[in-house]
Assembly symmetry: C2
Homo-oligomer: 517 residues x 2
């Protein structure tokens, strides 16, 4: 079962002419978006240095074309005719098509509401801001970044007025990444999490890199290249490359590309990037398997759910004892290491280490969420007008003191560390922690149903029961349910951070037993 | 001087509004074509197997978009307004713009004259024909290929009626690859060449592969990767990859991509592919340097001239004594070979070997042209209705006997060997030999002006005088002159095959002196 079999079958196609026409137009837009992904992928992986300017022109031209096709009146009119037709004709899949068109119109109205001037102003300022931010961070001068950040905040507030909201402006931006989510709900979810995590931070332990020497990239590459297919992602529909920042992207239903980064001193860096990005690619590949696409339903439900899929493979699977019992010999053999140089428990403790740090992207799985909660609280206050840009450094530093008990020595290691705000991406940060919360809850539900998963992994290197469960309960749902409903139907419970807390507590207990063992 | 500085400067832009509008539309089409090149390159180099079907959709959609933009009425009207405006206003560069628009209209009229039905029928049949040809070749059954080849020939004849011609139908197809060229002119050019080559064939000598062992791809890759930049193609605007069939393509003004193929048993295979493809990329890079583009003038003048640039670097440079005096130590060192295993004269003789063979793509620089002349004579007769498809095998075999003195044992090694006709590419073959003729003539003219080139190569590994001469005399001319005029202005002589014959004769004499030395 790949869900929604009635959505748009060949037999229905003949009876719903307007729907078929709207779908043909949608497919064109979808194909052009995939071409855009080819251009972006090539820019990151293979583009010669001097080709960058013209590549920008190519991406600009095609983006403009896609936008004008998608947000233009012609497509809107096609979709309206499809909606009328679907309401008139009682055919199988009517309700699914109704949901599809509801999702489409919600997104279309968002795309169409901003004025051309506002879009262009936002685009001009955020592209300038990237360089300003990078320089300010390098020179540790928040005051150089503040004026342009202030402009971005004001433009973002203008956007919220176009998009509209019920209780607070921030919700209008959050909606762009996490449809249906509200800041007040996140506040509740994060409140419990924050209080539970603070005592765990103190129990964490810093472990130094236990690798006895640098490991050549060629060995690391050979090891990493086999990992996606070991997990279950076929190399016939995916490939792995190296890039400065790891990412995954979809260039078509059966063309998923993953990247990683190799660190001579720490081969785990690339392994965990591959685990993470493979999780994203599994989700995208699963969505592509849903019958009857492409359509607005054939898409990820939210960034939080997307991130839950990467985090699940990275943390729930990738930092588990069963995974490493299976993978430790493979890694040691591929990297030419002897057990006397690096023992299982040294490696396993290192993989699960935890200690407070200043930088989000270097944080472990316990403290990471506190970094996110800090950012969520600050950006929410900023967009809702409760705090001014000039107050950010002080606010940041006091929250770091409160959450981690550490002093921030410089803005470079504090409020200036992330790129997101310079791009105007307010509302993005909380999806990281939502992903962590959802991943723990999903994995717990799966584990209950599949008590012998550990054995399947350790004995047979077999992850298919997990991938099958995720396909059925997450991937093949597409965008049909909200993120919250999806979690509810997959786990039988409301979204709840307690599963993540329990997971982290158990992890700490396990590590403490190694320490004392 | 990068030619045509007056063509379309900023000061002229303000005065020629219609011309500027037409040029903006042209730039969009040009940018979309570059995006198409990205898709094609990715298909050959990086696309996962299962992504192929959707990539076909992407290419189909974008090709259709480009064609409708280019051949559509809107662009035609813009170009007409630009032409009227240019005639009215006497501004610097008026003549150049006149030439540009003349070239454009010639090509536009060709693009617009075929009916949609004919284009589609041709596209459907040629894509079917590829598989039919491949199977027929494998099974050595010309009779299986004949019916569909006949359909292609009939459709091609229909095309010639649309395009129009003065004396013979074949000219209308030749025009698509070699603008301004005529079959009767080729006949003269090739007549002399054929008669001069036949005695040389007998003087050639087969030399066996002298490499003492297989050479790992990693060593070959490291050697090959440095070759384009050694010749003068910057790695900041180009890259080298491996593919089944070597090719070069342009993804933008400063994004030139080359591919090669590695043969474990013969490292020269990849070296000569790189030399060849670098020559093509030099030409495309040089065209991009012309001031005032992109425009219809900023394009290669013909496939013959394009091929002259690849052949010049592959043969005139790449098989010369001076090149190998410089490159032999580099090759030996990079491939971990000792002089006692492979001497300079063994290698040099192998590089310049010649002997009659059945297969065009395996032919040497002497016999290659006879393979081409054979195909030119046959396809010309076919399109002009002087010969029927059913007669091809016998005709082929008798010509092989006449030109090479060898019997063709099977159609697989005879009339079925090439892919071109299954794609309907009649008129393409002669451009290969035109390229050889032009390359020898150009290199001779250059050598006269630069007597110390050998020394620059052997002592300083410096090819810049040659690249500079080609830029000035060939690349920076774009499409402003016909191929014939370009050769005339660069060399001071009409196109003439005697330079190629002299070059080949000298080469044989040189090899014979090694033999007897």
């Amino acid at each position: 079962m790949k869900e929604y079999e009635q959505l748009f079958t060949d037999s229905i196609r003949g009876e719903l002419k307007s729907f078929a026409e709207y779908r043909a137009a949608y497919r064109e837009i979808w194909t052009l978006r995939n071409i855009l992904s080819v251009l972006h992928w090539d820019s990151e992986i293979t583009l010669p240095e001097e080709g960058r300017t013209e590549r920008g022109d190519q991406i600009g031209l095609l983006s403009g074309l896609v936008h004008s096709k998608y947000a233009g009146d012609k497509f809107y009119a096609l979709a309206e005719k499809a909606r009328e037709e679907n309401e008139k004709k009682s055919l199988p899949g009517q309700e699914e098509r109704r949901v599809e068109l509801k999702i489409l119109f919600k997104d279309l109205n968002r795309s169409r509401c901003l004025s051309q001037e506002l879009v262009e102003e936002f685009s001009v300022i955020t592209s300038k801001a990237h360089a300003v931010w990078a320089k300010a961070r390098k020179e540790n001068k928040f005051s150089d970044f503040a004026p342009i950040l202030n402009q971005i905040v004001e433009l973002s507030k203008k956007q919220t007025e176009c998009y509209g909201y019920q209780t607070e402006a921030y919700d209008a931006l959050l909606e762009g990444y996490e449809p249906g989510e509200r800041a007040s709900n996140l506040e509740n979810l994060f409140f419990n999490l924050k209080n539970s995590l603070k005592p765990l931070v103190a129990r964490g332990k810093k472990i130094n890199n236990p690798f006895p020497r640098e490991i050549p990239i060629s060995l690391q590459r050979r090891l990493g290249e086999n990992l996606p297919s070991l997990l279950g992602l076929s190399s016939k529909m995916s490939r792995l490359d190296a890039s400065e920042h790891p990412f995954s992207t979809s260039l078509g239903s059966k063309d998923k590309r993953i990247t990683t980064r190799y660190d001579l001193k720490d081969p785990l860096s690339s392994i965990f990037s591959i685990l993470h990005e493979t999780g994203h690619s599994f989700y995208e590949a699963g969505i592509s398997e849903i019958i009857g696409g492409p359509s607005p339903l054939h898409d990820s439900v939210s960034l939080g759910i997307h991130e839950s899929q990467s985090r699940l493979w990275e943390n729930q699977v990738g930092r588990s004892r069963e995974f490493w019992e299976m993978y430790y010999p493979i890694l040691m053999n591929s990297l030419d290491l002897k057990e006397s140089e690096l023992s299982f428990s040294e490696l396993f403790s290192y993989i699960n280490q935890s200690s407070p740090s200043l930088i989000r992207v270097e944080a472990d799985q316990i403290t990471y969420n506190l970094h996110i909660i800090l950012r969520f609280e600050i950006e929410r206050a900023l967009i809702n007008g409760k705090v001014q840009v000039s107050e950010l450094p002080e606010l940041w530093n006091s929250k770091m003191k409160d959450l981690f008990g550490i002093e921030v020595p410089s803005d470079r290691e504090g409020v200036l560390q992330d790129v997101h705000w310079s791009g105007g991406a307010f509302g993005y940060f909380p999806t990281y922690t939502l992903g962590n919360i959802y991943s723990a809850q999903l994995f717990q539900a799966f584990s209950k149903e599949t008590p012998n998963f550990s054995e399947q992994v350790t004995k047979n290197k077999d992850f298919s029961s997990l991938l099958g469960w995720l396909r059925k309960n997450v991937h093949w749902k597409g965008k049909f349910h909200s993120a919250e409903d999806l979690i509810r139907s997959a786990t039988g419970m409301d979204p709840d951070s307690s599963h993540l807390v329990t997971y982290l507590e158990n992890k700490l207990t396990e590590l403490e037993s190694i320490d004392h063992g």
